[in-house]
Amino acid sequence: MSKPKVILVACGTAIATSTVVAHAIEEEMKKRGLNVTTRQCKATEVPSLAADADLIVTTTPLPSNLGKPVIQTLAFLTGIGKEEVLKQIEEILKQ
């Protein structure tokens, strides 16, 4: 199996929101046959952790110029636009 893609999942406290988001992404990407691993962090920790990530998914605003693709979304909490976001994640990871 190829090396898993690393998704950095950021929220305010790295406790509640990112747990939901990371869990949902792992499940959905597994269904799509993609090998992913998620790491949760606080939004403030993203700049120091971004280097190791293939993709950053965040529920709160992040600084710009992180050098990695960033998806800012509440879809995994509210359900609004979830399919579109999943498609977007899949496309980025397949690159």
Partner: protein, 163 residues
């Protein structure tokens, strides 16, 4: 799913369920629910203030698919003794700021106050909160609930469906 797991129904503290609450602000709602959790020994004295400060910096308002919007205030784990959830439904909305865009105000009528310890152990409950928020019918049922039993019925619908 096991019956003794830390699911939303088990973690919801009856004394911290405020239905048809009349509150003037998000702060009032958070303080009221936090006081009930403090009384029950679930959180430390610092919890309410920490949740309010976190809300000011990193708001938790969520615009949902239906007419009712929600907020999920919470804070760092050091303010929590054991995991618990408080719930408020509001007669008139109070203003929370939008999680994804803190410059935006959202009128909120459903509030889940989350007292969290270890994230991994509460993933099930958190997933259930998200499942509730994604289901406009359940959100509506919660808003209309007039008793703790009605709240349990509304939540059980989601939790059973998920397991």
């Amino acid at each position: 799913m096991t019956s003794n797991s830390l699911n939303l129904l088990n973690l919801l503290v009856p004394e911290a369920v405020a239905l048809n609450l009349k509150a003037a602000s998000a702060e009032e709602v958070i303080r009221l629910l936090a006081a009930a959790l403090l009384q029950g020994g679930y959180v430390r004295e610092t919890f309410a203030q920490a949740a309010l400060e976190r809300e000011a910096r990193l708001p938790t308002g969520l615009q949902l698919a239906g007419d009712i919007n929600a907020a999920i205030p919470h804070t760092d784990i050091e303010h929590v003794i054991r995991p618990a959830v408080g719930l408020a439904t509001l007669v008139e909305p109070v203003v929370f700021k939008n999680m994804i865009d803190p410059s935006q105000s959202i009128p909120v009528r459903l509030v889940f106050l989350l007292a969290l310890e270890q994230p991994k152990s509460q993933v099930e409950m958190l997933q259930q909160v998200a499942t509730v928020l994604q289901n406009p019918q359940v959100v509506q049922d919660l808003i209309q609930a007039q008793s703790l039993e009605a709240v349990h019925r509304a939540l059980a619908a989601v939790i059973t469906a998920q397991s």
